[in-house]
Symmetry: C2
Subunit: 314 residues, 2 copies
DNA sequence: ACAAATAGTTGACAAAAGCAACTATTTGTT
DNA sequence: AACAAATAGTTGCTTTTGTCAACTATTTGT
């Protein structure tokens, strides 16, 4: 945790240094940084009052008043008394002001262009997506919005999803349970078999997505004897404890009830205590167990079953 | 491209606003932002001259001189004439100065802690990794370092790699060539078959990594009759044109020569013109072709062969 | 050996930002 | 409806922040 904090502190320091923050005469324009920020903000809002501006930019209203006076003198903005409140004025950019703003943006763009000129497109894409990530997370941290609201679910597979699911299984089981590479090979095999005899009307995969990336999944595989197997249940460690696992499980079991399966079973190992607790909570009961040496570990492979009473459906 | 630039411009604006840049009385300390930046910089260097400080922080030397005077008055720093240059002074923090700096960092950390308090660990990890990405890319853009230097190669598979390779194939072929999901299933199958009869001494996979992430790969699969098949050749679109593909191909072919294969062949489709050009350039020649309807497209599947003359080895 | 450059200091000054008092209006309370 | 409290905006005054140029003491280059 402390490491994370100092990382952020370092980034802030780095970025302020990069931007060369305390720079006046912003980009050769006759205006200072604060003045330019005002210009941008007016441009963004189209029409705005001084009070709102000072709120948004955290500027002293006296100071702001002077900046606006300057802009009016230069023909950048025009003020007209607000209809709603005759103490206040609606401020908007004149054509000249719009031109000035466009010119500023052009200069800034030019600077950025030169700056990223040496980056390859893939690197540039990474830069931008990293910036968007920060923007989103930073505004989220202040919004204090719950994680659950930012996670979406999808019951469809898009190209790349299967590979990513295999990737997650291989990576997370290696990191968390010390499984060897052989486990990932096994996962490839299970997916291969699944895809070989995939029945779209019966088999189903649900994904939990955060910011477009898969952070959880679950699947139901049709088995002989009107049974269903629950597979590939996984939630990314950084996103656990927010009910994502529960949501996935509930979606999968709802599907099983709807399809009138008589029984849902799953195979797991004694290492997956967190998942097992959740299975038990949903009504699964252990029905078989066997010791195996697999994936570089000695494991107790367990089977859990949940009998579905379709009469509950009424 | 213009979209990328405006994204970056927006981020800069957003982040400066977030940091609340023009704030004096930094974090309730008796010092201003500029003064604190000086304090940080001295702390970081341990011992530094005023000239170097003004260079690093882009501060006027007169202004800096006054800041240092203030710090000396407050017992934050001590100056002693430099041994090397008697015009200059070595500046270091006193114990009191170190305490002051630590206190500042503590306050800043506290602020950050409160700030990220509402984030889940996975989100926080994303935030930090995004910040590191930006830091790295931004310093790289000014370093003007070539991409090639930032890409590493690895001839070993770690857990998660296979899944990620399948993911990349599924995603990129869908995006670039319009292949359907079925293609990814096919890739899963090819990997399944590969892993089933994997011969560590003969079969080989090479990965190109950028910032720890796979951006390219190639593999050699042992085939009957002393032949080798070249498979899964791929370079992430954002990283093409930097010689990564060529490097991968050369590594793979060097391996084939070393293992004294008589022939290397590969299967591709007419859509992959970019790869085909590279194959041809390395000496591959078309040997067979067949029209197929596959993966949602009508494709011309082509086979290319490269005969290896082991006498060249001498 | 001597001109040019460099590290640091200081005085004078301009720009940026904050504070408080003031006017004109609106809002809320009884 | 009357009136106190709050709000939008302006202005004068102040402090803080930062710039510029002149100056001293030393080092560097030729």
């Amino acid at each position: 945790m402390d490491g994370k904090i100092s990382q952020i502190r370092l980034f802030n320091r780095f970025y302020t240094a990069q931007l060369g923050i305390p720079s006046n005469r912003f980009l050769d324009s006759p205006y200072s940084l604060s003045e330019v920020r005002v210009l941008y903000e007016i441009g963004e809002h189209g029409c705005i009052t001084a009070h709102r501006l000072s709120e948004l930019l955290q500027l002293d209203k006296g100071y702001l008043s002077r900046i606006l006076k300057l802009y009016r003198r230069d023909g950048i903005i025009e003020k007209k008394p607000s209809d709603a409140d005759r103490r206040a004025y609606d401020i908007r950019l004149t054509d000249r002001g719009k031109a000035q703003l466009a010119e500023l943006q052009r200069k800034q763009d030019e600077q950025i262009r030169r700056f990223i000129g040496s980056l390859r497109s893939g690197e540039c894409d990474r830069l931008i997506s990293a910036m968007q990530t920060i923007k989103r997370l930073v505004s989220m941290a202040s919004d204090n919005k719950a994680l659950g609201d930012r996670v979406t679910y999808r019951a469809e597979l898009y190209p790349g999803d299967i590979g990513y699911l295999i990737h997650l299984h291989g990576k997370l089981y290696a990191e968390e349970s010390g499984y060897s590479q052989a486990f990932e090979c096994y996962v490839v095999k299970t997916f291969y078999e699944f895809l070989e005899r995939y029945k779209p009307d019966k088999d189903k995969v649900w994904l939990a997505l955060y910011d477009g990336e898969i952070v959880g999944c679950i699947a139901i595989v049709d088995r002989p004897g009107n049974e269903a197997q629950l597979r590939w249940f996984l939630v990314h460690p950084g996103f656990r404890g927010a009910g994502i696992g529960r949501n996935l499980l509930e979606m999968a079991l709802a599907h099983c009830r709807e399809r009138r399966y008589t029984c849902v079973y799953l195979l797991t190992t004694d290492i997956q205590q967190r998942a097992i607790a959740m299975y038990k909570c949903m009504g699964f009961r252990p029905t078989a167990a066997v010791e195996v040496v697999q994936w570089g570990k000695v494991l107790r492979e367990e089977r859990y079953d949940l009998l579905l009473d379709s009469s509950e459906e009424r």
